[in-house]
Symmetry: C2
């Protein structure tokens, strides 16, 4: 059971933008350099985060990306719900494709739903602000001498 | 975020064997027929469940498989921990392969661990007995006229 690499990278982009001053712009290249991960992957990730309304792009010379919302407004559970393809733990979670014959009487599916709810209850109780506020060490690692 | 098809099928095998009388044997063919899923997949799944000590095989004519433990002794969380390859929600959950530079100061990883713990806390509170005891509808669907 894993989250997608896409979600992993999306969260890293948000952390990076979250440790910057609110209006300061970042480039995909600098985020790629900071984490040592593929610029191509990050370009796709930032494009999607833009479509989700979490980040915004300033075009032109000196342009870049930044958070569109305050870190305290970016809920972790809500973000992961958007970045993951689905949470179909087992076949019957996908109503349209489910062929499992015991679905109507299966108590296991209820327990798996209960477990997934408990998982999200934790994630829903945090925002990006919880990770970036008063976290100078994170800023130092990601932004280095710029601080 | 999904469980593997392997875990899904393993749980279905345990449910099937759990609704049978304790000493009665089942064949992979009849489980395959009951759920309408591949016998080849189920053969692999039952082999692994045997190695995990959850089911046992009686060989020879009239042989088959049955639970090795009482349903109340088969914990759901423990079973899923065994049947899943891993629970590496993000890269840093895999200590040996992790290259994420912010790991030492990242609070997000702690929150993801907290969420995963909440998920397992639910699963750990159930056993196979909770799904099969007093569930005549499940027995009717899986075993049909045999009841």
């Amino acid at each position: 059971m894993r989250l997608t690499m896409y979600t992993d990278f999306a969260l890293r982009v948000l952390l990076y933008l979250g440790v910057k001053e609110s209006n300061e712009l970042s480039t995909v290249q600098e985020i790629s350099d900071a984490y040592g991960i593929s610029k191509n992957h990050l370009t796709k990730v930032t494009h999607e985060l833009g479509k989700m309304g979490l980040i915004e792009t300033v075009r032109g010379r000196g342009g870049g990306i930044r958070l569109k919302l305050a870190p305290s407004e970016i809920n972790v559970g809500a973000t992961i719900r958007k970045t993951e393809d689905d949470f179909h733990l087992v076949e019957c979670f996908n109503c349209s494709a489910n062929k499992c014959v015991i679905t109507p009487v299966c108590r296991l599916k209820n327990v798996l739903h209960e477990a997934l709810e408990a998982y999200f209850k934790v994630l829903d109780s945090y925002t990006l602000a919880d990770f970036v506020e008063n976290n100078e060490n994170l800023a130092t690692i990601l932004l280095g001498e710029k601080l």
